[in-house]
């Protein structure tokens, strides 16, 4: 270290101990280290301030009453400022979803894995296309449900089936099933 800091004059060499380390080397390392730790300490809050703030996080769970949804009907709710689709599947739609061999699926999941036990007819998904985040059509009566009778994203043409699974188009994964639980027989809490 001694040769990297300052010029080695006879005086400074004399100031070095037997091991060739001068007091100034210690001061240099200590100062730069302290400044480095300080810089990291400043950068962390600068990065962290960009993450969702407390009020945004406070709105991060939503309760939905699912009792009034008729088979074949979908309601749109809002979860974390994004659309949430809650769909009551008809027996035909359940059958269609269960008939598909898993090998055909891009993101293999069964309908049972995507619904809660005992509520096979209640499909809760985000209304956010997994491609680039558009809201798929098919939740409102009369909208295009795509080639597989579920949802269809008009932005880049992703088709989802009745279990909200990606079947055709650029989206990489199935419509996200958010974490939720039944707080009673008719109410779910999402988030």
């Amino acid at each position: 270290m001694a040769e990297t800091t300052g010029t080695a004059t006879p005086e400074t060499l004399a100031a070095a101990g037997d091991d060739g380390v001068r007091r100034r080397d210690f001061i240099n390392i200590a100062a730069v280290t302290a400044a480095g730790v300080g810089a990291v300490g400043v950068v962390l809050p600068l990065i962290s301030q960009m993450s969702p703030s407390a009020d945004v996080l406070a709105e991060s769970s939503t309760e939905v009453d699912v009792s009034a949804i008729e088979p074949g009907q979908t309601i749109k709710s809002i979860f974390r400022k994004q659309p949430l689709f809650v769909r009551r599947l008809t027996p035909l739609e359940i059958e269609a979803a269960q008939e598909v061999p898993l090998g055909e699926l891009r993101d293999a999941q069964t309908l049972d894995e995507r619904t809660k036990e005992g509520h096979l007819d209640l499909l809760v998904t985000m209304g956010v296309c997994t491609h680039l985040g558009c809201v798929p059509l098919g939740a409102v009566e009369g909208e295009n449900k795509g080639e597989y009778g579920g949802y269809f994203c008009p932005c880049h043409g992703s088709h989802y089936d009745t279990a909200g699974r990606i079947r055709k188009g650029p989206a990489p994964t199935n419509l996200l099933v958010p974490e939720y639980e039944f707080t009673s027989d008719t109410v779910i809490r999402v988030g």
């Binding site: 974390r80 008009p154 989206a171």
Partner: protein, 426 residues
């Protein structure tokens, strides 16, 4: 650096002499864009577009600072604030239309500037650094324009922000958290709008700084020229002022006629009508498109539809960024010693009948809905785009036999009149 025959700055008055000894700012200007900067005498109008880009940068900063005085980056009022500017603020409509169309014109002149560089190989030694900084400026422009488009908080603003930040979610493992971090929430909202406003105000000044570096790097070797033969003697150059200040001034006048036509008669022609609908997180517009100047890159993004090792989405994102980052490699991909396309018969054919049609096709596909035949056409055009830069350009530059070059700019201008070495105006 400059050529030895460059005119020296002579302070004319006592005041400028006093200033020159303390802060030689007039000397700097004189040597940068005044009579002290010798420039090749044969520059065509294709060499106007750097100055034009500089003009639009300044125009965007001025109109933008004015708009910021009347705007508020709050999701509940942002949309109304834009209408407030349009209807209530004195001359607000003019400031906003000039700013919106100014962005389009900034991109038009920069695209011409870049393609001028492609044709005349302006990126070649010793001008690589000018080119590299230029690509950085273009990337900064894209980021700035994207964030500016979000501020009116219309439907296209919102969904554009969602789709573009959604690109980051394609990154494996960290993508989802990265998108949430960028937005400061789970979807574009107040947090995103505010940070975009902050950065939209900041980045133009970063661009201005990069422009200074761009010009600084340019002044080391001096400007390139349409025949691509370097300056050899005094008779090859004329002083920037008054020759090119006049030529650039005339070009600026012509461009401002077209700019005025757009601002006063077709102010919304380049925008999207859906952006006059307030942002609604629960309803996607039928057909999300970016601003027109992003169409070619948007087409490349959407050209990837099949998963291969990584997801199609990630391929699209990587290809879109690669389409621009590839420009950084141009000085080393094109190895021909000849610069100008005028003397490169094969290169010239691939430029006019390869790259240009490819860009036009990508432009059309980027604005079209994501359905056939546009998807397949954009896949072919995307393949050609990368093929052009990575394969065709290196091969052409290796096998091509260039046409004979003039010995000097003077010779080219005076049609081989070798006696004419005295400086001639014009």
């Amino acid at each position: 650096m400059s050529f030895p025959w460059a005119k020296q700055y002579e302070p004319a008055t006592g005041l400028t002499r006093w200033l020159d000894e303390r802060l030689p700012l007039p000397r700097l200007v004189y040597n940068a864009v005044g009579a002290g900067y010798p420039v090749p005498r044969n520059l065509s109008y294709m060499w106007n577009f750097g100055v034009l880009a500089g003009f639009f940068l300044v125009a965007q900063i001025i109109t933008g600072v004015v708009l910021a005085m009347h705007y508020a980056a709050d999701a509940t009022v942002a949309f109304a604030k834009v209408e407030h500017i349009m209807r209530d603020v004195n001359w607000g409509w003019l400031m906003r239309y000039a700013h919106a169309n100014g962005a389009s014109f900034f991109f038009i002149v920069v695209y011409i500037h870049i393609f001028r560089g492609f044709f005349y190989s302006s990126y070649k030694a010793p001008r690589e650094m000018i080119w590299l900084i230029g690509v950085v400026i273009f990337l900064l422009m894209m980021a700035t324009a994207f964030m500016g488009y979000v501020l009116p908080w219309g439907q296209m603003s919102f969904w554009g922000a969602k789709v573009i930040t959604g690109l980051f979610s394609a990154i494996p493992l960290v993508g989802e958290s990265l998108q949430v971090w960028l937005l400061g929430g789970f979807a574009p909202d107040d947090a995103a709008l505010n940070r975009f406003f902050s950065l939209h105000y900041l980045l133009p000044f970063v661009i201005a700084g990069a422009v200074i570096l761009h010009i600084w790097a340019l002044h080391i070797p001096g400007s390139s020229n349409p025949i691509g033969v370097e300056v050899k003697q005094e008779s090859d150059t004329v002083p920037f002022h008054p020759y090119y200040t006049a030529k650039d001034g005339f070009g600026l006048g012509v461009v401002l006629i077209f700019f005025s036509l757009m601002v006063f008669f077709l102010p919304n022609a380049l925008g999207h009508p859906d952006n006059y609908i307030e942002a609604n997180p629960l309803a996607t517009p039928a057909h999300i498109v970016p601003e027109w100047y992003f169409f070619p890159f948007y087409a490349i993004l959407r050209a990837f539809t099949v998963d291969f090792i990584i997801s199609a989405k990630l391929w699209g994102v990587l290809a879109m960024f690669a389409a621009i980052l590839i420009w950084f490699l141009l000085p080393w991909l094109d190895r021909s010693p000849v610069r100008s396309g005028h003397y490169r018969p094969l290169f010239r054919k691939f430029f006019w009948f390869g790259l240009i049609p490819c860009m036009i096709v990508l432009f059309i596909c980027g604005g079209a809905p994501a359905e056939e035949p546009y998807v397949m056409i954009s896949q072919i055009a995307t393949a050609y785009y990368f093929l052009h830069f990575l394969v065709i350009l290196p091969i052409v530059s290796a096998i091509e036999r260039p046409e004979p070059l003039p010995n000097s700019i003077t010779e080219a201008v005076l049609d081989k009149d070798t006696n004419a070495t005295a400086p001639i105006a014009g």
